[in-house]
Protein backbone atom coordinates (compact mmCIF):
# COMPACT_ATOMS: atom_id res chain seq x y z
CA UNK A 1 0.00 0.00 0.00
CA UNK A 2 2.90 2.28 0.84
CA UNK A 3 4.44 1.60 -2.54
CA UNK A 4 1.22 2.55 -4.30
CA UNK A 5 0.95 5.83 -2.49
CA UNK A 6 4.63 6.55 -3.22
CA UNK A 7 4.04 5.79 -6.88
CA UNK A 8 1.07 8.13 -6.88
CA UNK A 9 3.04 10.91 -5.19
CA UNK A 10 5.81 10.52 -7.74
CA UNK A 11 3.65 10.67 -10.81
CA UNK A 12 0.70 12.72 -9.64
CA UNK A 13 1.85 15.89 -11.34
CA UNK A 14 2.47 13.99 -14.57
CA UNK A 15 -1.10 12.70 -14.46
CA UNK A 16 -2.36 16.23 -13.82
CA UNK A 17 -0.41 17.63 -16.78
CA UNK A 18 -1.64 14.77 -18.95
CA UNK A 19 -5.22 15.71 -18.11
CA UNK A 20 -4.76 19.39 -18.87
CA UNK A 21 -2.97 18.54 -22.10
CA UNK A 22 -5.89 16.26 -22.91
CA UNK A 23 -8.22 19.26 -22.65
CA UNK A 24 -6.06 21.20 -25.09
CA UNK A 25 -5.79 18.22 -27.39
CA UNK A 26 -9.58 17.75 -27.41
CA UNK A 27 -9.97 21.43 -28.22
CA UNK A 28 -7.62 21.05 -31.18
CA UNK A 29 -9.27 17.80 -32.21
CA UNK A 30 -12.79 19.17 -32.52
CA UNK A 31 -11.65 21.75 -35.07
CA UNK A 32 -9.45 19.21 -36.82
CA UNK A 33 -12.36 16.81 -37.06
CA UNK A 34 -14.28 19.50 -38.94
CA UNK A 35 -11.47 19.69 -41.44
CA UNK A 36 -9.19 22.47 -40.20
CA UNK A 37 -5.70 22.28 -38.78
CA UNK A 38 -5.66 25.15 -36.35
CA UNK A 39 -3.31 26.20 -33.57
CA UNK A 40 -5.89 28.64 -32.22
CA UNK A 41 -6.45 26.58 -29.07
CA UNK A 42 -3.33 28.31 -27.78
CA UNK A 43 -5.13 31.63 -28.00
CA UNK A 44 -8.26 30.27 -26.29
CA UNK A 45 -6.05 28.79 -23.62
CA UNK A 46 -4.22 32.08 -23.13
CA UNK A 47 -7.50 33.94 -22.75
CA UNK A 48 -8.91 31.38 -20.34
CA UNK A 49 -5.61 31.19 -18.51
CA UNK A 50 -5.15 34.88 -17.83
CA UNK A 51 -8.82 35.58 -17.12
CA UNK A 52 -8.95 32.55 -14.84
CA UNK A 53 -5.73 33.59 -13.11
CA UNK A 54 -7.06 37.07 -12.40
CA UNK A 55 -10.25 35.59 -10.98
CA UNK A 56 -8.37 33.22 -8.69
CA UNK A 57 -6.17 36.09 -7.52
CA UNK A 58 -9.30 38.02 -6.66
CA UNK A 59 -10.64 35.06 -4.71
CA UNK A 60 -13.59 34.00 -6.80
CA UNK A 61 -14.97 30.44 -6.32
CA UNK A 62 -13.61 27.74 -8.61
CA UNK A 63 -16.88 26.98 -10.36
CA UNK A 64 -17.17 30.60 -11.46
CA UNK A 65 -13.53 30.65 -12.51
CA UNK A 66 -13.94 27.71 -14.86
CA UNK A 67 -17.27 28.83 -16.28
CA UNK A 68 -16.05 32.33 -17.03
CA UNK A 69 -12.77 31.04 -18.51
CA UNK A 70 -14.75 28.77 -20.78
CA UNK A 71 -16.92 31.68 -21.86
CA UNK A 72 -13.86 33.85 -22.44
CA UNK A 73 -12.45 31.14 -24.67
CA UNK A 74 -15.79 30.92 -26.46
CA UNK A 75 -15.78 34.65 -27.13
CA UNK A 76 -12.34 34.53 -28.69
CA UNK A 77 -13.19 31.46 -30.71
CA UNK A 78 -16.26 33.12 -32.20
CA UNK A 79 -14.17 36.09 -33.29
CA UNK A 80 -11.50 33.80 -34.72
CA UNK A 81 -14.14 31.73 -36.51
CA UNK A 82 -15.84 34.76 -37.97
CA UNK A 83 -12.57 36.10 -39.31
CA UNK A 84 -10.82 32.92 -40.37
CA UNK A 85 -13.52 30.69 -41.77
CA UNK A 86 -13.39 32.57 -45.02
CA UNK A 87 -9.93 31.11 -45.61
CA UNK A 88 -9.38 27.66 -46.93
CA UNK A 89 -7.72 25.05 -44.77
CA UNK A 90 -4.17 25.64 -45.99
CA UNK A 91 -4.31 29.22 -44.84
CA UNK A 92 -6.04 28.36 -41.61
CA UNK A 93 -2.94 26.60 -40.31
CA UNK A 94 -0.70 29.54 -41.18
CA UNK A 95 -3.16 32.12 -39.95
CA UNK A 96 -3.60 30.36 -36.62
CA UNK A 97 0.17 30.09 -36.26
CA UNK A 98 0.43 33.82 -36.91
CA UNK A 99 -2.28 34.31 -34.30
CA UNK A 100 -0.22 32.39 -31.73
CA UNK A 101 2.76 34.63 -32.43
CA UNK A 102 0.61 37.73 -32.07
CA UNK A 103 -0.86 36.43 -28.82
CA UNK A 104 2.54 36.52 -27.16
CA UNK A 105 3.00 40.13 -28.16
CA UNK A 106 -0.48 41.04 -26.91
CA UNK A 107 0.16 39.27 -23.61
CA UNK A 108 3.47 41.13 -23.26
CA UNK A 109 1.79 44.47 -23.71
CA UNK A 110 -1.59 44.05 -22.01
CA UNK A 111 -0.04 44.51 -18.60
CA UNK A 112 -3.21 45.11 -16.57
CA UNK A 113 -4.68 41.74 -17.49
CA UNK A 114 -1.56 39.68 -17.92
CA UNK A 115 1.09 41.30 -15.77
CA UNK A 116 3.12 41.90 -18.93
CA UNK A 117 6.69 40.71 -18.82
CA UNK A 118 6.42 39.80 -15.12
CA UNK A 119 3.58 37.35 -15.60
CA UNK A 120 1.02 36.38 -12.98
CA UNK A 121 1.47 34.23 -9.91
CA UNK A 122 -1.56 32.14 -8.98
CA UNK A 123 -1.95 31.63 -5.26
CA UNK A 124 -3.98 28.45 -5.47
CA UNK A 125 -3.08 24.94 -6.56
CA UNK A 126 -5.41 23.02 -8.81
CA UNK A 127 -7.43 20.47 -6.85
CA UNK A 128 -7.10 17.18 -8.66
CA UNK A 129 -10.73 16.21 -8.15
CA UNK A 130 -11.88 19.35 -9.95
CA UNK A 131 -9.57 18.58 -12.86
CA UNK A 132 -10.78 15.00 -13.08
CA UNK A 133 -14.38 16.13 -12.95
CA UNK A 134 -13.86 18.67 -15.72
CA UNK A 135 -12.09 16.16 -17.93
CA UNK A 136 -14.79 13.55 -17.37
CA UNK A 137 -17.51 16.08 -18.22
CA UNK A 138 -15.66 17.09 -21.37
CA UNK A 139 -15.14 13.50 -22.43
CA UNK A 140 -18.82 12.71 -21.88
CA UNK A 141 -19.74 15.72 -23.98
CA UNK A 142 -17.47 14.52 -26.76
CA UNK A 143 -18.94 11.04 -26.56
CA UNK A 144 -22.39 12.51 -26.97
CA UNK A 145 -21.23 14.72 -29.83
CA UNK A 146 -19.64 11.81 -31.66
CA UNK A 147 -23.00 10.14 -31.96
CA UNK A 148 -24.95 13.32 -32.64
CA UNK A 149 -25.73 14.98 -35.95
CA UNK A 150 -22.77 17.27 -35.33
CA UNK A 151 -20.42 14.32 -35.09
CA UNK A 152 -21.66 12.76 -38.29
CA UNK A 153 -21.76 16.06 -40.14
CA UNK A 154 -18.22 16.95 -39.12
CA UNK A 155 -16.90 13.56 -40.18
CA UNK A 156 -18.50 13.95 -43.58
CA UNK A 157 -17.21 17.50 -43.80
CA UNK A 158 -13.70 16.39 -43.08
CA UNK A 159 -13.76 13.58 -45.61
CA UNK A 160 -14.96 15.78 -48.42
CA UNK A 161 -16.36 19.28 -48.01
CA UNK A 162 -17.93 19.47 -51.46
CA UNK A 163 -19.80 16.21 -51.03
CA UNK A 164 -20.94 17.32 -47.61
CA UNK A 165 -22.29 20.53 -49.05
CA UNK A 166 -24.10 18.60 -51.75
CA UNK A 167 -25.70 16.43 -49.12
CA UNK A 168 -27.15 19.45 -47.39
CA UNK A 169 -24.74 19.82 -44.50
CA UNK A 170 -24.56 23.44 -43.46
CA UNK A 171 -20.79 23.82 -43.54
CA UNK A 172 -20.61 27.15 -41.81
CA UNK A 173 -22.85 26.02 -38.98
CA UNK A 174 -20.79 22.91 -38.30
CA UNK A 175 -17.54 24.86 -38.43
CA UNK A 176 -18.81 27.55 -36.10
CA UNK A 177 -20.02 24.99 -33.61
CA UNK A 178 -16.66 23.23 -33.83
CA UNK A 179 -14.83 26.45 -33.07
CA UNK A 180 -17.24 27.25 -30.26
CA UNK A 181 -16.63 23.93 -28.56
CA UNK A 182 -12.93 24.36 -29.12
CA UNK A 183 -13.09 27.77 -27.49
CA UNK A 184 -14.89 26.58 -24.38
CA UNK A 185 -12.70 23.54 -23.86
CA UNK A 186 -9.56 25.54 -24.61
CA UNK A 187 -10.53 28.31 -22.23
CA UNK A 188 -11.22 25.91 -19.37
CA UNK A 189 -7.98 24.08 -20.16
CA UNK A 190 -6.10 27.35 -20.00
CA UNK A 191 -7.47 28.14 -16.55
CA UNK A 192 -6.55 24.64 -15.39
CA UNK A 193 -3.03 25.03 -16.75
CA UNK A 194 -2.61 28.34 -14.97
CA UNK A 195 -3.54 26.74 -11.66
CA UNK A 196 -1.29 23.76 -12.29
CA UNK A 197 1.79 25.86 -13.05
CA UNK A 198 0.88 28.49 -10.45
CA UNK A 199 2.62 31.05 -12.60
CA UNK A 200 1.90 32.11 -16.17
CA UNK A 201 3.81 34.43 -18.42
CA UNK A 202 3.94 35.36 -22.12
CA UNK A 203 5.91 32.21 -22.82
CA UNK A 204 3.38 29.83 -21.25
CA UNK A 205 0.91 29.95 -24.14
CA UNK A 206 3.26 29.97 -27.06
CA UNK A 207 4.84 27.61 -29.57
CA UNK A 208 5.84 24.91 -27.06
CA UNK A 209 2.28 24.29 -26.03
CA UNK A 210 1.06 24.66 -29.62
CA UNK A 211 3.27 21.82 -30.74
CA UNK A 212 2.38 19.76 -27.69
CA UNK A 213 -1.32 19.90 -28.38
CA UNK A 214 -1.08 19.19 -32.07
CA UNK A 215 1.35 16.34 -31.48
CA UNK A 216 -0.88 14.88 -28.78
CA UNK A 217 -3.93 15.07 -31.04
CA UNK A 218 -2.36 13.53 -34.12
CA UNK A 219 -0.34 11.02 -32.11
CA UNK A 220 -3.39 9.75 -30.33
CA UNK A 221 -5.47 9.72 -33.45
CA UNK A 222 -7.53 12.57 -34.81
CA UNK A 223 -10.41 10.41 -35.96
CA UNK A 224 -12.01 9.68 -32.62
CA UNK A 225 -12.35 11.70 -29.44
CA UNK A 226 -10.48 9.15 -27.35
CA UNK A 227 -7.40 9.65 -29.50
CA UNK A 228 -6.45 13.10 -28.16
CA UNK A 229 -6.93 11.94 -24.58
CA UNK A 230 -4.65 8.94 -25.07
CA UNK A 231 -2.25 10.98 -27.16
CA UNK A 232 -1.95 13.62 -24.46
CA UNK A 233 -1.28 10.94 -21.86
CA UNK A 234 1.44 9.31 -23.95
CA UNK A 235 3.03 12.60 -25.01
CA UNK A 236 3.11 13.94 -21.44
CA UNK A 237 4.45 10.73 -19.98
CA UNK A 238 7.16 10.47 -22.63
CA UNK A 239 9.78 12.67 -20.90
CA UNK A 240 9.21 10.84 -17.62
CA UNK A 241 9.80 7.54 -19.35
CA UNK A 242 12.87 8.87 -21.08
CA UNK A 243 14.35 9.87 -17.68
CA UNK A 244 15.94 6.49 -17.58
CA UNK A 245 18.09 7.36 -20.56
CA UNK A 246 21.10 9.67 -20.33
CA UNK A 247 19.73 13.15 -19.44
CA UNK A 248 21.36 14.95 -22.33
CA UNK A 249 19.82 12.56 -24.86
CA UNK A 250 16.31 12.67 -23.42
CA UNK A 251 14.97 15.10 -26.01
CA UNK A 252 16.43 13.03 -28.80
CA UNK A 253 14.81 9.91 -27.36
CA UNK A 254 11.49 11.79 -27.17
CA UNK A 255 11.74 12.78 -30.79
CA UNK A 256 12.69 9.30 -31.94
CA UNK A 257 9.77 7.75 -30.08
CA UNK A 258 7.35 10.26 -31.60
CA UNK A 259 8.82 9.66 -35.03
CA UNK A 260 8.47 5.90 -34.74
CA UNK A 261 4.85 6.10 -33.70
CA UNK A 262 3.98 8.46 -36.54
CA UNK A 263 5.80 6.45 -39.16
CA UNK A 264 4.18 3.17 -38.16
CA UNK A 265 0.80 4.54 -37.17
CA UNK A 266 0.31 7.68 -39.26
CA UNK A 267 -3.35 7.89 -38.40
CA UNK A 268 -2.55 7.79 -34.72
CA UNK A 269 -2.92 5.28 -31.94
CA UNK A 270 -6.72 5.23 -31.99
CA UNK A 271 -7.90 4.76 -35.52
CA UNK A 272 -11.57 3.73 -35.90
CA UNK A 273 -11.09 2.90 -39.55
CA UNK A 274 -8.27 0.46 -38.85
CA UNK A 275 -10.32 -1.08 -36.06
CA UNK A 276 -13.33 -1.48 -38.32
CA UNK A 277 -11.19 -3.02 -41.04
CA UNK A 278 -9.66 -5.46 -38.58
CA UNK A 279 -13.05 -6.38 -37.22
CA UNK A 280 -14.55 -6.95 -40.63
CA UNK A 281 -11.52 -8.97 -41.70
CA UNK A 282 -11.99 -11.16 -38.66
CA UNK A 283 -15.69 -11.43 -39.43
CA UNK A 284 -14.99 -12.56 -42.98
CA UNK A 285 -12.46 -15.19 -42.04
CA UNK A 286 -14.71 -16.82 -39.44
Amino acid sequence: MDNLSDLWATYRSTVAFAMVNAMFALSTYVVLSAGFLSFSTVVFGAMGGFVGAQMVIHGLPLAIVFIVSGLAGLLVSMVVAAVFLRLNSHWMALASLALVLITRVVVLNATTLTGGVNGLGIPMALPLDWLTGILVLTVLAFYALYHSWFGIASRVLREDPSVAACMGVDLRKVQFIAFGISGIVGGVGGAAMAMLLQYISPDTFFLGIAFTMIAATVLGGSYHWFGPVLGAAVYTALPSLMQFIVPSLQDVANGVFLLLIMVFLPRGLIDPRAMRLRRSAKGRSS
Binding site: N109, D160, A215
Partner: protein, 295 residues
Protein backbone atom coordinates in the same frame (compact mmCIF):
# COMPACT_ATOMS: atom_id res chain seq x y z
CA UNK B 1 20.59 60.77 -42.39
CA UNK B 2 23.56 58.53 -41.96
CA UNK B 3 21.69 56.64 -39.24
CA UNK B 4 18.75 56.14 -41.55
CA UNK B 5 20.95 54.83 -44.33
CA UNK B 6 22.84 52.56 -41.95
CA UNK B 7 19.67 51.11 -40.55
CA UNK B 8 18.26 50.67 -44.03
CA UNK B 9 21.29 48.63 -44.90
CA UNK B 10 20.99 46.63 -41.68
CA UNK B 11 17.37 45.96 -42.54
CA UNK B 12 18.23 44.93 -46.07
CA UNK B 13 20.85 42.50 -44.88
CA UNK B 14 18.66 41.07 -42.12
CA UNK B 15 15.73 40.86 -44.50
CA UNK B 16 17.85 39.05 -47.05
CA UNK B 17 18.39 36.29 -44.52
CA UNK B 18 14.66 36.12 -43.84
CA UNK B 19 13.93 36.03 -47.54
CA UNK B 20 16.49 33.31 -48.17
CA UNK B 21 15.17 31.17 -45.39
CA UNK B 22 11.62 31.81 -46.54
CA UNK B 23 12.43 30.64 -50.06
CA UNK B 24 13.64 27.33 -48.67
CA UNK B 25 10.66 26.99 -46.36
CA UNK B 26 8.17 28.01 -49.06
CA UNK B 27 9.59 25.50 -51.50
CA UNK B 28 8.65 22.64 -49.22
CA UNK B 29 5.31 24.16 -48.27
CA UNK B 30 4.23 25.05 -51.77
CA UNK B 31 5.40 22.01 -53.63
CA UNK B 32 5.22 19.25 -51.05
CA UNK B 33 2.43 20.67 -48.94
CA UNK B 34 4.34 20.19 -45.71
CA UNK B 35 4.51 22.70 -42.88
CA UNK B 36 8.04 21.74 -41.90
CA UNK B 37 8.75 22.54 -38.26
CA UNK B 38 12.30 21.25 -38.65
CA UNK B 39 13.29 23.75 -41.36
CA UNK B 40 14.99 25.99 -38.83
CA UNK B 41 17.22 23.10 -37.81
CA UNK B 42 18.57 22.94 -41.36
CA UNK B 43 19.82 26.48 -40.92
CA UNK B 44 21.38 25.77 -37.52
CA UNK B 45 23.10 22.65 -38.80
CA UNK B 46 24.39 24.42 -41.87
CA UNK B 47 26.04 26.98 -39.62
CA UNK B 48 27.52 24.27 -37.41
CA UNK B 49 28.90 22.34 -40.37
CA UNK B 50 30.31 25.50 -41.90
CA UNK B 51 31.93 26.36 -38.58
CA UNK B 52 33.56 22.94 -38.32
CA UNK B 53 34.92 23.30 -41.85
CA UNK B 54 36.13 26.83 -41.13
CA UNK B 55 37.93 25.76 -37.97
CA UNK B 56 39.45 22.53 -39.22
CA UNK B 57 40.07 22.99 -42.94
CA UNK B 58 40.74 26.69 -43.28
CA UNK B 59 39.11 26.86 -46.69
CA UNK B 60 38.15 30.10 -48.42
CA UNK B 61 34.77 31.53 -47.56
CA UNK B 62 32.78 30.45 -50.67
CA UNK B 63 33.73 26.84 -49.98
CA UNK B 64 32.69 27.24 -46.37
CA UNK B 65 29.30 28.45 -47.55
CA UNK B 66 28.93 25.49 -49.86
CA UNK B 67 29.91 23.13 -47.09
CA UNK B 68 27.10 24.58 -44.98
CA UNK B 69 24.61 24.34 -47.80
CA UNK B 70 25.64 20.79 -48.57
CA UNK B 71 25.28 19.69 -44.98
CA UNK B 72 21.82 21.25 -44.76
CA UNK B 73 20.78 19.58 -48.01
CA UNK B 74 21.84 16.21 -46.66
CA UNK B 75 19.94 16.75 -43.41
CA UNK B 76 16.86 17.85 -45.35
CA UNK B 77 16.90 14.74 -47.51
CA UNK B 78 17.31 12.53 -44.44
CA UNK B 79 14.38 14.20 -42.74
CA UNK B 80 12.26 13.87 -45.85
CA UNK B 81 13.06 10.23 -46.46
CA UNK B 82 12.77 9.15 -42.85
CA UNK B 83 9.96 11.39 -41.78
CA UNK B 84 7.79 12.27 -44.75
CA UNK B 85 8.33 9.52 -47.29
CA UNK B 86 6.87 6.73 -45.13
CA UNK B 87 3.69 8.75 -44.83
CA UNK B 88 3.58 9.43 -48.53
CA UNK B 89 4.10 5.77 -49.28
CA UNK B 90 1.00 4.90 -47.28
CA UNK B 91 -1.03 7.64 -48.84
CA UNK B 92 -1.54 9.21 -45.44
CA UNK B 93 -2.35 12.88 -45.34
CA UNK B 94 0.37 15.36 -44.63
CA UNK B 95 -0.90 16.23 -41.18
CA UNK B 96 1.26 13.40 -39.93
CA UNK B 97 4.17 15.06 -41.71
CA UNK B 98 3.81 18.06 -39.43
CA UNK B 99 4.17 15.80 -36.42
CA UNK B 100 7.18 13.96 -37.78
CA UNK B 101 8.73 17.33 -38.55
CA UNK B 102 8.13 18.30 -34.91
CA UNK B 103 9.84 15.05 -33.87
CA UNK B 104 12.82 15.89 -36.06
CA UNK B 105 12.87 19.42 -34.70
CA UNK B 106 13.28 17.98 -31.20
CA UNK B 107 15.99 15.57 -32.31
CA UNK B 108 17.96 17.99 -34.46
CA UNK B 109 17.84 20.89 -32.01
CA UNK B 110 18.96 18.66 -29.17
CA UNK B 111 21.83 17.27 -31.24
CA UNK B 112 22.76 20.79 -32.29
CA UNK B 113 22.96 21.76 -28.63
CA UNK B 114 25.29 18.84 -28.12
CA UNK B 115 27.40 19.76 -31.09
CA UNK B 116 28.06 23.27 -29.83
CA UNK B 117 28.63 22.14 -26.25
CA UNK B 118 25.47 24.02 -25.27
CA UNK B 119 27.29 27.26 -26.08
CA UNK B 120 26.86 29.86 -28.77
CA UNK B 121 29.95 29.80 -30.99
CA UNK B 122 31.33 32.19 -33.54
CA UNK B 123 33.39 31.88 -36.68
CA UNK B 124 37.16 32.45 -36.45
CA UNK B 125 37.81 36.03 -37.59
CA UNK B 126 39.99 35.00 -40.51
CA UNK B 127 37.52 32.60 -42.04
CA UNK B 128 35.13 35.14 -43.50
CA UNK B 129 35.46 38.57 -45.12
CA UNK B 130 34.99 40.72 -42.05
CA UNK B 131 36.20 44.01 -43.40
CA UNK B 132 34.19 47.15 -43.95
CA UNK B 133 33.90 47.84 -47.65
CA UNK B 134 32.93 51.43 -47.07
CA UNK B 135 32.94 53.65 -44.05
CA UNK B 136 31.68 56.80 -45.78
CA UNK B 137 28.95 57.68 -46.48
CA UNK B 138 27.59 54.61 -44.76
CA UNK B 139 29.42 51.76 -43.03
CA UNK B 140 29.01 48.73 -45.26
CA UNK B 141 30.39 45.48 -43.87
CA UNK B 142 31.35 43.04 -46.61
CA UNK B 143 29.20 40.31 -45.08
CA UNK B 144 26.06 42.40 -45.41
CA UNK B 145 26.71 42.89 -49.09
CA UNK B 146 27.26 39.17 -49.46
CA UNK B 147 23.94 38.45 -47.77
CA UNK B 148 22.05 40.82 -50.05
CA UNK B 149 23.75 39.45 -53.16
CA UNK B 150 23.04 35.90 -52.02
CA UNK B 151 19.33 36.66 -51.83
CA UNK B 152 19.26 38.26 -55.25
CA UNK B 153 21.13 35.40 -56.87
CA UNK B 154 19.14 32.67 -55.16
CA UNK B 155 15.79 34.36 -55.74
CA UNK B 156 16.40 34.91 -59.43
CA UNK B 157 17.95 31.48 -59.82
CA UNK B 158 15.14 29.66 -58.06
CA UNK B 159 12.49 31.61 -59.92
CA UNK B 160 14.06 30.73 -63.25
CA UNK B 161 14.46 27.15 -62.17
CA UNK B 162 10.84 26.83 -61.17
CA UNK B 163 9.30 28.62 -64.11
CA UNK B 164 11.63 28.06 -67.04
CA UNK B 165 13.29 24.71 -66.56
CA UNK B 166 12.14 21.14 -66.97
CA UNK B 167 13.13 20.31 -63.43
CA UNK B 168 11.03 23.18 -62.17
CA UNK B 169 8.01 21.92 -64.02
CA UNK B 170 8.64 18.46 -62.69
CA UNK B 171 8.81 19.80 -59.14
CA UNK B 172 5.59 21.70 -59.53
CA UNK B 173 3.90 18.71 -61.14
CA UNK B 174 4.91 16.41 -58.32
CA UNK B 175 3.71 18.98 -55.82
CA UNK B 176 0.33 19.10 -57.44
CA UNK B 177 -0.14 15.39 -57.79
CA UNK B 178 2.69 12.86 -57.57
CA UNK B 179 0.71 10.12 -59.30
CA UNK B 180 -0.21 12.11 -62.37
CA UNK B 181 3.34 13.43 -62.51
CA UNK B 182 4.60 9.86 -62.48
CA UNK B 183 2.20 9.05 -65.27
CA UNK B 184 3.79 11.82 -67.27
CA UNK B 185 7.17 10.19 -66.87
CA UNK B 186 8.52 12.09 -63.91
CA UNK B 187 10.48 10.12 -61.33
CA UNK B 188 8.51 11.42 -58.37
CA UNK B 189 10.74 10.00 -55.68
CA UNK B 190 13.83 11.55 -57.17
CA UNK B 191 12.16 14.91 -57.70
CA UNK B 192 10.91 15.00 -54.13
CA UNK B 193 14.40 14.33 -52.81
CA UNK B 194 15.75 17.04 -55.07
CA UNK B 195 13.17 19.50 -53.79
CA UNK B 196 14.04 18.64 -50.21
CA UNK B 197 17.75 19.03 -50.92
CA UNK B 198 17.21 22.37 -52.65
CA UNK B 199 15.04 23.67 -49.86
CA UNK B 200 17.58 22.53 -47.28
CA UNK B 201 20.47 24.09 -49.15
CA UNK B 202 18.77 27.46 -49.48
CA UNK B 203 17.70 27.62 -45.85
CA UNK B 204 21.18 26.38 -45.01
CA UNK B 205 22.71 29.30 -46.85
CA UNK B 206 20.58 31.62 -44.75
CA UNK B 207 21.82 29.80 -41.66
CA UNK B 208 25.49 29.97 -42.59
CA UNK B 209 25.36 33.66 -43.45
CA UNK B 210 23.27 34.29 -40.34
CA UNK B 211 25.78 32.45 -38.17
CA UNK B 212 28.59 34.66 -39.45
CA UNK B 213 26.63 37.93 -39.35
CA UNK B 214 25.23 37.48 -35.87
CA UNK B 215 28.24 35.64 -34.37
CA UNK B 216 25.81 33.07 -33.07
CA UNK B 217 26.18 29.45 -34.14
CA UNK B 218 23.75 27.48 -32.01
CA UNK B 219 20.34 25.90 -32.22
CA UNK B 220 18.71 29.27 -31.46
CA UNK B 221 19.86 30.58 -34.84
CA UNK B 222 17.43 28.41 -36.75
CA UNK B 223 14.53 29.10 -34.45
CA UNK B 224 14.81 32.85 -34.99
CA UNK B 225 15.02 32.52 -38.77
CA UNK B 226 12.08 30.13 -38.78
CA UNK B 227 9.51 32.53 -37.43
CA UNK B 228 10.51 35.42 -39.65
CA UNK B 229 11.01 33.25 -42.71
CA UNK B 230 7.54 31.87 -42.20
CA UNK B 231 6.16 35.41 -42.09
CA UNK B 232 8.01 36.21 -45.30
CA UNK B 233 6.48 33.21 -47.00
CA UNK B 234 2.97 34.15 -46.02
CA UNK B 235 3.23 37.84 -46.84
CA UNK B 236 5.05 37.21 -50.06
CA UNK B 237 2.88 34.45 -51.31
CA UNK B 238 4.24 30.99 -51.11
CA UNK B 239 3.76 30.10 -54.70
CA UNK B 240 6.15 32.76 -55.91
CA UNK B 241 9.76 32.96 -54.90
CA UNK B 242 10.11 36.63 -55.84
CA UNK B 243 7.31 37.53 -53.46
CA UNK B 244 9.00 35.71 -50.60
CA UNK B 245 12.28 37.44 -51.30
CA UNK B 246 10.74 40.90 -51.40
CA UNK B 247 8.54 40.22 -48.40
CA UNK B 248 11.57 39.03 -46.44
CA UNK B 249 13.46 42.22 -47.20
CA UNK B 250 10.45 44.38 -46.35
CA UNK B 251 10.02 42.54 -43.05
CA UNK B 252 13.69 42.99 -42.22
CA UNK B 253 13.58 46.71 -42.88
CA UNK B 254 10.32 47.11 -40.99
CA UNK B 255 11.75 45.22 -38.04
CA UNK B 256 14.77 47.47 -37.81
CA UNK B 257 12.84 50.71 -38.07
CA UNK B 258 9.97 49.75 -35.77
CA UNK B 259 12.52 48.49 -33.26
CA UNK B 260 14.33 51.80 -33.39
CA UNK B 261 11.45 54.26 -33.43
CA UNK B 262 9.16 52.34 -31.11
CA UNK B 263 10.46 49.43 -29.10
CA UNK B 264 11.32 45.78 -29.51
CA UNK B 265 8.01 44.64 -28.03
CA UNK B 266 6.00 46.44 -30.72
CA UNK B 267 8.29 45.17 -33.40
CA UNK B 268 6.91 41.67 -33.42
CA UNK B 269 3.37 43.00 -33.08
CA UNK B 270 3.89 44.93 -36.31
CA UNK B 271 5.36 41.99 -38.18
CA UNK B 272 2.75 39.47 -37.16
CA UNK B 273 -0.18 41.83 -37.52
CA UNK B 274 0.98 42.56 -41.03
CA UNK B 275 1.09 38.83 -41.51
CA UNK B 276 -2.44 38.42 -40.29
CA UNK B 277 -3.73 41.27 -42.43
CA UNK B 278 -2.22 39.68 -45.50
CA UNK B 279 -3.68 36.32 -44.63
CA UNK B 280 -7.12 37.80 -44.35
CA UNK B 281 -7.09 40.30 -47.15
CA UNK B 282 -4.71 38.85 -49.68
CA UNK B 283 -4.04 35.23 -48.72
CA UNK B 284 -2.18 34.49 -51.89
CA UNK B 285 0.38 37.07 -50.82
CA UNK B 286 1.89 39.89 -52.77
CA UNK B 287 2.67 37.84 -55.81
CA UNK B 288 0.79 34.63 -55.41
CA UNK B 289 -1.59 33.59 -58.10
CA UNK B 290 -5.07 32.73 -56.90
CA UNK B 291 -5.84 30.28 -54.17
CA UNK B 292 -6.45 26.74 -55.14
CA UNK B 293 -8.83 24.66 -53.13
CA UNK B 294 -7.89 21.02 -52.80
CA UNK B 295 -11.34 19.53 -52.78
Amino acid sequence: MELFASQLLNGLSLGSLYGLFGIGFGLVFATLGILNAAQGCYASWAAIAALVVAERAGLPFPLIMFAGMGAAAVVAVIVDQMGFQPLRARGADMLGALITSIAFWMILDSLAGFATGQQSLSFPPQSYPGQMLLTQPVPLPAMQLIAILALVVVAIGTHLLMTRSAIGSAIRAVGWNPVSAALSGVNSRYVIMLTAALSGAISGLAGTLGGVLTSNVSFTLGQGLMLKGFAAVVVGGYSDVRGTAIAGVVLGILEVFVGQYFSASYRDAFTYSLLLVFLLVKPQGLFGKGSFVRA
